[in-house]
């Protein structure tokens, strides 16, 4: 079983049909354990109970960037190997990545309100995540602007790779911009010395959210394959009726 075998959509569908329930179950169990541990975790001596937002916020923020990486790999698959499933993978990942980015922004904002006294702060990290969100939306707009899926796939692949090159530059320049304008920067999360009581639930949540992404991604890919089949059947039917 190699990646090439998976290129056959039918094989992919049968394989994932078997794997998906297990993945979903593992995701649910991990997230339940993680949430339980997070709820049991002690309050922070400074931040109180609000520190628990971290257990949802950090995995989301991490996945927001990770999904762009997944899309970049898929974009390489599209442009270099013309892997038929790479298009599907890239298209299915974009809305999920946008959702994670949005959740990271929302949870961060809710966390920021009690901690910083404001929902929004033009902090370097927040700003670059916001720009990441904008780029996800632009990519989704590109997918929706074109009817022919394979044509859209190649355009989106170019944009994804350019974005992957550009995101570190944007991150760097926003950091620079922020330190220029606000020398007294807002407080940063916990620092490197995170206590074990926080670290273990956080890691469990991170793995749980990653599995959630994999589950959602595979399910979305299956839907996309089926959607394309429906589309080609409809086209066939329409051309038969016309003939």
């Amino acid at each position: 079983m190699t990646l090439i075998d998976l290129a056959n959509p039918s094989k992919f569908l049968t394989l994932t049909a078997r794997v998906l329930p297990w993945l979903a179950g593992a995701t649910a169990i991990l997230l339940l354990i993680g949430l339980y541990q997070a709820a049991m975790a002690p309050d922070d001596y400074q931040q109180g109970a609000t520190v628990k937002i971290m257990f949802v916020h950090v995995p989301n923020a991490w996945l927001a960037m990770f999904v762009w990486g997944v899309m970049s790999m898929a974009a390489l698959g599209t442009l270099v190997w013309r892997h038929p499933l790479a298009d599907v993978a890239a298209k299915a990942a974009a809305p999920i990545g946008a959702a994670f980015t949005f959740l990271a922004l929302v949870t961060g904002s809710l966390w920021g309100r009690p901690m910083w006294g404001t929902y929004w702060e033009w902090d370097a990290r927040l700003t670059s995540v916001l720009i990441l969100f904008l780029m996800y939306l632009g990519l989704m707009a590109l997918w929706r602007a074109v009817e022919d899926p394979s044509r859209a796939a190649r355009a989106a692949a170019v944009l994804t790779l350019v974005g992957a090159l550009n995101l570190p530059i944007i991150k760097f320049s926003v950091d620079w911009w922020n330190t220029l304008h606000q020398p007294a920067s807002v407080l940063r999360m916990g620092g490197p010395s995170l206590d074990k009581a926080f670290l273990i639930p956080l890691l469990v949540m991170a793995v749980g959210f990653s599995l959630l992404f994999v589950t959602l991604h595979i399910a979305a890919m299956r839907n996309e394959i089926l959607r394309r089949r429906v589309r080609s059947l409809q086209m066939m039917q329409a051309s038969q009726q016309a003939a």
């Binding site: 780029m135 590109l142 602007a145 355009a155 170019v158 090159l165 550009n166 530059i169 944007i170 320049s173």
Partner: protein, 222 residues
């Protein structure tokens, strides 16, 4: 080499003649700059403080609006297909087209900057700082914008989609362009640091832009 020179000369000629529309960018730049005081108020010290940012935003939007012309006309009359099939590497042809576009549509923006600086109450040193940063920064806008223009032309979608795709990519250029201008005018920071980073951004886009644009043209044209 002669093919590339001929391509550059042809593109500049087309852009400057009737129907080319390169100079509309300057008119748009002027209009945006004139609109700003209506929104902000005729407060001269405030305008002087915001001046570099206003000029940079105007130049960014003006260069974005003219980007549509980079490939569209050539695509419509078929010469883009000829260029793509020719012996000259498509990457080099894209770079030549972007250079011609910058010469025809970007340089006039820089030339217009001193006059617009007067409107915004910028003194001579501030105006020259903005013009210098625009001279270094607008190639980056053109060359990264070219990626969006190539995507838009292969998809037959221009306008808003192009803007939505290109604007996030131009954030670093905007940050360092305005930062360098501000540093030259008032800032405690040195002018050199943001200015060199701006140069670096232009050089990077000079490398990445043609390849990405050529890739999307090669995959997208049928």
């Amino acid at each position: 080499m002669t093919a590339l020179a001929a391509l550059i000369r042809r593109d500049i000629k087309i852009a400057l003649r009737v129907g080319g529309g390169a100079l509309i960018g300057v008119l748009f730049f002027l209009t945006v700059t004139v609109l700003m005081p209506f929104a902000i108020g005729p407060d001269l010290p405030l305008l002087a403080r915001l001046g570099p940012a206003i000029l940079w935003l105007g130049a960014l939007l003006a260069s974005l609006l003219t980007l549509d012309r980079l490939f569209t006309a050539d695509h419509e009359d078929g010469s883009l297909d000829l260029i793509a099939m020719g012996q000259t590497p498509l990457e080099l042809a894209c770079a030549a087209k972007a250079l011609a576009h910058w010469l025809a549509a970007g340089v006039p923006l820089i030339v217009a900057t001193p006059a617009l600086g007067l409107l915004l109450n910028l003194d001579a040193s501030a105006t020259s700082a903005v013009a210098l940063t625009l001279l270094v920064g607008t190639p980056a806008l053109t060359f990264t914008g070219m990626i969006g223009a190539a995507l838009a032309v292969t998809l037959h979608r221009g306008g808003l989609l192009l803007a939505v795709l290109v604007l996030p990519l131009s954030i670093p250029v905007l940050i360092f362009g305005v930062a360098a201008s501000q540093a030259a005018i008032s800032g405690p920071l040195s002018f050199g640091t943001p200015f060199s980073i701006l140069c670096a951004l232009s050089l990077v886009s000079l490398v990445v832009g043609p390849f990405a644009a050529a890739a999307s043209l090669r995959h997208g044209l049928d």
